[in-house]
């Protein structure tokens, strides 16, 4: 009944007013899932909800998706790369270098079909998001501004309460789950005397002609500040840039939100010819004065307060009065503020307890690592607004990161509300090495959301088989069983990607000699993004996760293995990558993961009590691997398998040796692991 009355709402805005007056409409419409905002994150979530056949709607303020991109970035160039060629056919791998596409099953909906530019134009993003919505038929309610969100306690609701959304027309929507994907929309402003003279990034002219022959001061040091500077660098007299902290170069921090090389033209002129420049000062100490000629002078708030209110601007003390080589002694023609954005908290009722974080996360709402609000169950924050989870660490604030976290949230919801366990592939243990090698070589979610999302291998009893779960939020590992519906009774591996511990930082020299590691033995010292495998005998507890060692993504594991970094990010070398990984897995599981030809299995079957899993699960099930003539020849030439016994009676994995340097690179109990492995292999 209610639904049919509402159907015209979506299609015909003209009817809306008429119907809105109808009293029947004060009855709220119910939806299981409400998504706020039809930006990349909202659409990505809508896609997953749609594919799962869920009852959902996306609420969008404007008349088309991706409205942020119709205006921002102001200079229209996206700094997310659109790498159309990688020399690799693997579509999953290619997403590692496609930072703009959303995830879908439709290969036509890849961003490379929308722009040829490496740094694409923002209009193409708008066009892409529109096509994404239309092609997939996502249910978006346009021109619907949600003005207020509150809670309605109800025992029958999934989460014990409904979210009540009121739009600008007074229409009320009742939602079981609320997914907030509104991004950061409020420009960050700093209050200081004279801040009224400052133009904002959001409104400043983008026409270089307007800056010809001017002295420009830019407040801020992010990509928007540098982007603004780059645009006018050629026509201004000079540009000074002022912010509290030192510039953070993204190639040094390995954080894409820091200053990207494409925007750093100003650094060139600053460091080469002292033309333009960077200055560090706390903006809140500043004051800006406008003189009689309309020029702006930088002074300190302190001087202003000293002078009192009645002084004319020209008589107020300037720093150069005391200090005649003060850096900012020249008058400026314009001052531009490029200080970033904040989340819009205004529409959320207090009852939702959607608070801002402290520390660095003031601009973001406070959420858990599962992206659920700490204040109210059933409220999830997606997209850029969810970046507090990995701010200045990983890519969760950007399309190429949050497309994966949206999928993770969807998988959590599917289990929580629909009893569908986290997708997993169950495979025999003989496939373990290959499964891990495969994922670390192609997975894009692990690669983009390094340190945040992890693949998890859940072992079955006696380690004869395992379940492989993809891209689970790392920090929630203690709650894995509850969140995924999978059992982790017999130990687990967690597979993530990491940079070297001391490699990334704003003032690190990332080009130092010997920055890359080539030897397997030194794998744990790898600097560039490389796979790391943690082994736990038991699921870590919440306590262990919370009190893990500083700068560690996970608590202390039973054993850890680094796959040595690779210049080509191709971790398939038989000796350099696969062999050490296999030995690590063997040591952890106390089993033999080698593969054998049928002839060897035959021999084992007649001479040993216990067969390696490869023979048990292959040969004995009449699926043995038969060698060909030429392979047989090589087998004769090599020492294999004649010397099995000789080679087996040794410790296997170097990465398991207790090192002086990094104690955690060793298992907690190397002895028993290695010994029991030996004994097991000797039986062969």
């Amino acid at each position: 009944m209610g639904l049919s009355a509402l159907a015209p709402l979506w299609s015909s805005p003209g009817l809306l007013l008429v119907i809105a007056l109808h009293p029947a409409l004060s009855v709220p419409t119910h939806r299981d899932y409400c998504v706020l905002g039809a930006g990349p994150a909202g659409l990505q979530m809508a896609y997953f909800l749609q594919r799962a056949g869920r009852d959902y709607a996306v609420f969008e303020r404007t008349q088309r998706p991706g409205s942020f991109f119709t205006r921002y970035p102001r200079h229209r160039k996206l700094i997310s790369i659109n790498k159309r060629y990688t020399g690799n056919a693997n579509s999953e791998f290619n997403l590692r270098h496609d930072w703009n596409s959303l995830l879908s099953h439709d290969p036509r909906l890849l961003f490379r079909h929308y722009s040829r530019a490496y740094f694409p134009d923002a209009h193409d993003m708008v066009r892409y998001l529109g096509d994404f919505t239309d092609t997939l038929g996502l249910r978006v309610l346009y021109n619907t501004t949600i003005t207020h969100v509150t809670l309605d306690k109800d025992q029958r609701a999934w989460n014990g309460h409904y979210f009540i959304l009121t739009d600008q027309k007074g229409q009320v929507h009742q939602c079981s789950v609320l997914l907030v994907a509104t991004g950061l929309s409020v420009p960050n402003q700093v209050d200081f005397p004279g801040s009224e003279y400052v133009e904002g990034y959001e409104s400043v002219s983008v026409d270089p002609e307007d800056f010809v022959g001017q002295n420009v001061l830019i407040l801020g040091r992010g990509n928007s500040a540098f982007e603004t500077a780059d645009n006018i660098l050629g026509v201004t007299n000079f540009i000074h840039m002022l912010s509290r902290s030192r510039v953070r170069l993204s190639w040094a921090t390995h954080y894409v939100g820091d200053l990207r090389a494409i925007n750093n033209g100003l650094l060139d002129t600053y460091q080469l010819k002292s033309l333009d420049g960077l200055l560090e000062s706390d903006l809140t100490d500043l004051a800006i004065l406008k003189d009689s000629k309309g020029k702006f002078h930088v002074t300190l708030k302190f001087f202003l307060e000293e002078a009192g209110t009645n002084q004319s601007t020209d008589s107020i003390t300037l720093p150069q009065d005391d200090n005649d080589n003060f850096a900012m002694r020249v008058p400026y023609d314009r001052v531009i503020r490029c200080l970033g954005w904040n989340f819009d908290f205004s529409i959320f009722n207090k009852s939702l307890r959607l608070n801002s974080g402290n520390a660095f996360g003031k601009k973001y709402p406070l959420i858990r690592a599962s992206y659920e609000s700490k204040g109210s169950r059933g409220l999830f924050v997606l997209g850029t607004a969810s970046h507090s989870v990995d701010y200045r660490k990983s890519a969760g604030g950007f399309i190429h990161g949050f497309r994966y976290t949206a999928r993770a949230v969807h998988r959590l919801l599917e289990h929580r509300h629909h009893g569908i366990a986290w997708p997993a592939t169950e495979l025999p243990i003989t496939q373990l090495t290959s499964s891990i090698v495969r994922r670390v070589n192609e997975a894009s979610g692990l690669y983009q959301m390094f340190g945040v999302l992890a693949d998890v291998v859940l072992l079955k009893e006696n380690a004869t088989a395992f379940e492989y779960l993809e891209e689970f939020p790392l920090q929630m590992v203690a709650q894995l069983e509850m969140l995924t519906g999978r059992k982790a009774q017999h130990g687990l591996f967690v597979i993530i990607m990491e940079y070297g511990r001391n490699f990334s930082g704003p003032d690190k020299d990332v080009f130092f000699d010997n920055r890359s590691v080539g030897q397997t033995e030194d794998a744990w010292q790898s600097n560039f993004l490389h796979p790391v495998i943690y082994y736990y005998r038991h699921l870590p507890t919440e306590q262990e996760v919370r009190f893990r060692p500083a700068h560690w993504p996970l608590p202390r594991p039973t054993a850890i293995h680094h796959i040595v970094e690779d210049f080509l990010t191709d971790w398939t070398a038989p000796i350099g990558h696969i062999l050490p990984l296999r030995r690590f897995l063997e040591n952890c599981l106390d089993t033999d993961l080698r593969s054998f030809y049928a002839e060897s299995c035959f021999l084992f079957a007649l001479t040993r009590q216990k067969l390696p899993p490869f023979c048990q699960q292959g040969y004995l099930r009449m699926q043995g691997l038969v060698s060909t003539e030429s392979l047989r020849q090589h087998r004769v030439e090599s020492w294999l398998p004649r010397n099995h016994a000789a080679t087996d009676s040794r410790l296997e994995d170097s990465s398991q040796q207790p090192g002086d340097h990094e104690p955690l690179d060793a298992p907690m109990a190397p002895g028993p692991l290695a010994q029991s492995l030996d004994s097991n292999k000797e039986e062969l």
Partner: protein, 678 residues
Amino acid sequence: MMSSGSSVFRVGISFAIVCIFYVPTIDSLPELSPQKYFSTLQPGKASLAYFCQADSPRTSVFLEELNEAVRPLQDYGISVAKVNCVKEETSRYCGKEKDLMKAYLFKGNILLREFPTDTLFDVNAIVAHVLFALLFNEVKYITNLEDLQNIENALKGKANIVFSYVRAIGIPEHRAVMEAAFVYGTTYQFVLTTEIALLESIGSEDVENARLYFFHCKLVLDLTQQCRSTLMEQPLTTLNIHLFIKIMKAPLLTEVADDPQQVSTVHLQLGLPLVFIVSQQATYEADRRTAEWVAWRLLGKAGVLLLLRDSLEVNIPQHANVVFKRAEKGVPMEFLVLHDVDLIISHVENNIHVEEIQEDEDDDVEGPDIDTQDDEVAETVYRDRKRKLPLELTVELTEETFNATVMASDNIVLFYVDWQAVSMAFLQSYIDVAIKLKGTSTMLLTRINCADWPDVCTKQNVTEFPFVKMYKKGKNPVSYTGMLGTEDLLKFIQLNRISYPVNITSIQEAEEYLSGELYKDLISYSSMSVLGLFSPNMTTAKEDFSEAGNYLKGYVITGIYSEEDVSLLSNKYAATLPALLLARHTEGKIESIPLASTHAQDVVQIITDALLETFPEITVENLPSYFRLQKPLLILFSDGSINPQYKNAILTLVKQKYLDSFTPCWLNLHDFMEKKHL
């Protein structure tokens, strides 16, 4: 009188106990009751005891570490014991609560120190703390520069000082210092600090690591003069400290007048080079000053000697003023002309062969063959990587071509990943199949690399590699589950040229089928043809049989006959319907089996059982099928082919049901040994 007698007696007993406890179990922790423990204490002897409640856990991290400390402490004459506090014998050392138990250090029966267990966090900490407490006088602990200066002043002209900084008490470096102090504590004054500020104030740049300085105070006679100091550059380990002190003990400068080749000093024995400053009578005084200067600079790095050329019997080059002799044997001496002291220093420093002494045994265990492949498949595939396979005999599919290709014709698809050894080993067999089938088969052999096209493989539900599937027009794809080898795959492809079960429509056709005439070219791939006999009205039974036949396709030839005249066949082969006729082509025999149950599963079971022989030769290929019976194999070993006599004997035993609990078989030992030697 009585009492003293009994006490003597008790000492004797306790001595016996000590012997019993300590000698045989030299490095395990003795467990005693308080009373017993105190009776073992000997005057002047130090002993460390851990008091714990009798009911406390028998193992803990602390106990493990304590156990490890038994032997090193014994080397210093310190005994270690675990004292179990029992209710009957309360001792004041037994804490009230379980977690408040402590370790106590006694000298004789005097309590020297008590240690909360958390300060004794590992074996290093235990040894370090115990020695620290015992060497209270020998090792002065200081916290500021003033203390250090006071000690220095007090010892000028008297003794040298070994000053060390460690980052914390109880760490391995601290233990190393304490162990050195145990040996040298009476000769040198040891001074220890953990204050970074103190280290910085004596001018050390590196405050990250432990530091050890030797202060040469004994030489200082003028109290206003400072003691020279020498920094030990090696890491602080027990061995390094011993070596360093030994070198410090050696004379600063030695005068020699012998052949430098024959000269040896403690330096050389410790692996340090020797520097001879060549001197002549005329310049002796100046040379000696130079040599002393050099000796101070090279202290700890090389031995310096003054070589008196005038009284030398061997010749050294005319202009040479420095002779450099390395510690390594067999390296010729260098005769150098160096006119600057700094040149001598830098020459030595550049030529020191720093030998890292690994004390950590674990490092040595590092597998010498960590890089050695022990997976035979990976190794053989790797060795074969440069051989070019005729890959063009199979069609490589991509995401774009996959669907069109599998729809257009009958296909066998190999799903593989090119970096996986097993995949690549099987690819060779797959290519061999292609070679054998070249130009004869309607079946297209294709392959897809799932490392390139993961989506295709996922959509085809392939998650393990390698994997083979057969796609036939209008039919569901069939997964291949046989051996990953040329023979079996070829058999699968060939047998799949027709669909199963074959519908036989006349008696004559049935006879041709059973004799092997009908599918002449196929019977080499299937040693047995199965014919299901049904009355036309046995609909369910026929359906079940068809299902079974379909299931076995590619492995066995199956056919079905259910015409009106089926009784002609059943009568001929003495079968009651429904029945199976099994034609064994190799033996030329046809037998019939009545079908008691017609469930597809049971039919499959009957047929697979029928494929097994009564007394087979066990081979690589067939072992798994006999293994599956889960009966012990009774193997007759034969050198070469089996003697028919033996075979008959076994068959007789089988017939008489003597061997029902076994799977009798024979093994060609000749072949087996060959395999074993591969």
